[in-house]
């Protein structure tokens, strides 16, 4: 186990830039997720860490060692692939022991380690079976056991749950998180599934067009997105555009088409007055105000319901407000009357300022 550093890593294919510039410092034992849409450079970044692709510029360090030019064999990394990539001609025991055989670990130690790992992934007794005899979830657990059999300095996971169905994916997420808590292996995880990233990671790097847009804890990525891309990619979001006109009681005052609203000032961000800004508000933070006295110090706006979508425990309601903006409101179905005209309100701290 070691820390992992990417310093100014760039990957270009001719004119095409796959990874524009990535600087990352993943701490020892940390679980970091590269999150982004396909083509954002997350897989390329992971494959550069693995050594399957050489970076055009920059350095990759595991611990204190510069591994930039090193072939994958010499990097001491474990990896879990989306399609499991188990060896079809080898038994489960031989699959798990693959790296141990390559590193000439004695047979007795190998057998002991296989037993430990099968207990760890809760699949005891499948030693002599073949991958094709196991289900997808079981195969992926075996792939994980293979990746950590010879304790790797860094564990890489390339959309490992992508091929599983929803129920299994959720169960595997919990299992992965529990394993990570137990093993504390430095892990880089690649996914385009924001829910997965949220529930598994210590930190998330949201990537877009070959760059990291925001590197932060899951709660900050969700609650304090720094760019529109991040806000949009992670969960559902409403945007209100306007101009910053001042400050009051620690809140920013913004003039928008729905009137003057107050929003949270991000500690790190600095905005010149009168600059164009965007306020982001999560749909679950918007509510319907039934009586004016309920509003308190909330921002309020009157609007007209455009559509309602019942999703089970919650309803998604679209409300047209001035400025040709539609706000998405998430609420309990019981909170909604039949009235078409509603007043929407939200607490000032739930509006987050984003740089344009």
């Amino acid at each position: 186990m070691s820390e992992l550093k990417l310093e100014g890593v760039v990957k270009r294919y001719g004119q095409v830039v796959a990874v524009e510039r990535v600087d990352l410092h993943i701490h020892e034992g940390e679980f970091l997720t590269l999150l982004g849409p396909s083509g954002c450079g997350k897989t390329t970044t992971l494959r550069m860490i693995a050594g399957f692709i050489d970076p055009t510029e920059g350095r990759i360090l595991i611990g204190a060692e510069d591994v930039t030019g090193l072939p994958p064999q010499k990097r001491d990394i474990g990896m879990v692939f989306q399609d499991y990539a188990l060896f079809p001609h080898l038994t489960i025991a031989d699959n798990i022991a693959f790296s141990l055989v390559e590193r000439r670990v004695p047979t007795a130690d190998r057998r002991k380690r296989i037993g430990e790992l099968l207990d760890l992934i809760r699949l005891p007794g499948v030693e002599e079976r073949y991958p094709s005899e196991l289900s997808g979830g079981q195969q992926q657990r075996v792939a994980l056991a293979r990746a950590i059999a010879h304790p790797p300095r860094v564990l890489l996971m390339d959309e490992p749950l992508g091929a599983l169905d929803l129920k299994l994916r959720e169960a595997m997420q919990e299992e992965l998180r529990a394993l990570q808590d137990k093993l504390q292996i430095t892990t880089v995880y690649v996914t385009h599934d924001q829910g997965e990233a949220m529930s598994l990671s210590d930190r998330i790097a949201v990537m877009n067009a070959g760059r990291i847009e925001q590197l932060d804890t899951p709660s900050n990525i969700y609650g304090a997105p720094r760019t529109e891309f991040v806000a949009n990619f992670v969960g559902k979001i409403n945007f209100l555009r306007g101009t910053l006109s001042g400050q009051q009681d620690g809140f920013a005052l913004i003039d928008t088409p729905v009137g003057r609203i107050r929003a949270r000032m991000a500690a790190s961000a600095s905005f010149g007055s009168d600059s164009r800004v965007t306020v982001s508000i999560r749909p679950e933070n918007l509510r319907v105000i039934h009586r004016a006295e309920d509003a308190g110090d909330m921002n309020t706006v009157a609007g007209r319901i455009v559509s309602r979508l019942f999703t089970g425990n919650l309803s998604h309601v679209r409300v047209a407000v001035p400025g040709e903006v539609e706000l998405l409101v998430e609420m309990r179905p019981s909170d909604l009357s039949d009235a078409a005209e509603v007043t929407i309100g939200w607490r000032p701290e739930h509006g987050v300022l984003i740089t344009n």
């Binding site: 693995a50 050594g51 399957f52 072939p71 994958p72 064999q73 990097r75 990394i77 474990g78 990896m79 692939f81 989306q82 399609d83 990539a85 188990l86 060896f87 079809p88 001609h89 693959f98 790296s99 390559e102 590193r103 073949y130 991958p131 094709s132 005899e133 792939a143 293979r146 990746a147 059999a149 010879h150 890489l156």
Partner: protein, 284 residues
Amino acid sequence: MNTRWSLFLVVPLAVSLVLLVASQSVFLESSLHADLGFGRMAPAWSLHNYIRVLTDDFYLRVLWLTVMVSGIAAVLTIVVGFPIAYVLARMRSRWAGVLMLGILLSTFVTIVIKIFGLIVIFNADGPVNRLLLGAGIVAKPINLIGTPAGVVVGLMYFTIGFAVLLMYAVARTVPRSVEEAAEIHGASRRRVFLRVILPICLPGIAVGFLTVFNMCMGAFTSAALLGGGRVLTLPVLIQRTILFEVKYGMAGTISAILLFSVLLINLFGIFVLRRFRIGRRVVA
């Protein structure tokens, strides 16, 4: 209503029966008649020809030579063909398609033209010998034509295109990620080949070997032209028995021996193959 598509298979079955079984039964029947000379055959059935072939050293040596030459040619063809197929299967540039097309086209050039090309290249005054002589590697020109080695080269030339196409399909079944998994978990390129690529491809390679071997066993043109009348394989012998000796019965018997030895070798091959397992899926 479901169309019963399997019924359509009756047509190819009928064609196969007529072309394969019917035609073979003609020479199988003639193999049971002793020759009386001048193309006449004894009216009664007997095992005379079979006893002759299976006890005469000459015929047994021809059978052995045919199996050896075919076996060596098939092994070498696979050894040369598999790496080519593997590289093609892994190529991501558009040249892969061009190269594939080249192999495909050259495969369907008639063997007669290819063999004459070989004869020109390898004859005593040809470019290969001039190069070897000029470089001082050999003292006198090496002669491939009329030697078993020449026949092996001819058979390889005849089958390599098919072998590459067959092996290409086999190599494509190994996912890139499986190789990468082996690499990242500590295997060198050599070990990846020995522990992963080769074992996964082995059943396919074996099937390819049998296919190439069968083609070699029955190859007439390459053996006749490069053997130059001095290397006798079973197909060449059959032709001579019919054309020069006019012994239809004996020719039928030699054909039957060729047929049954190929059949036996293939059955043995399939038996061995069944013992390979990929997972618990039995191959072949």
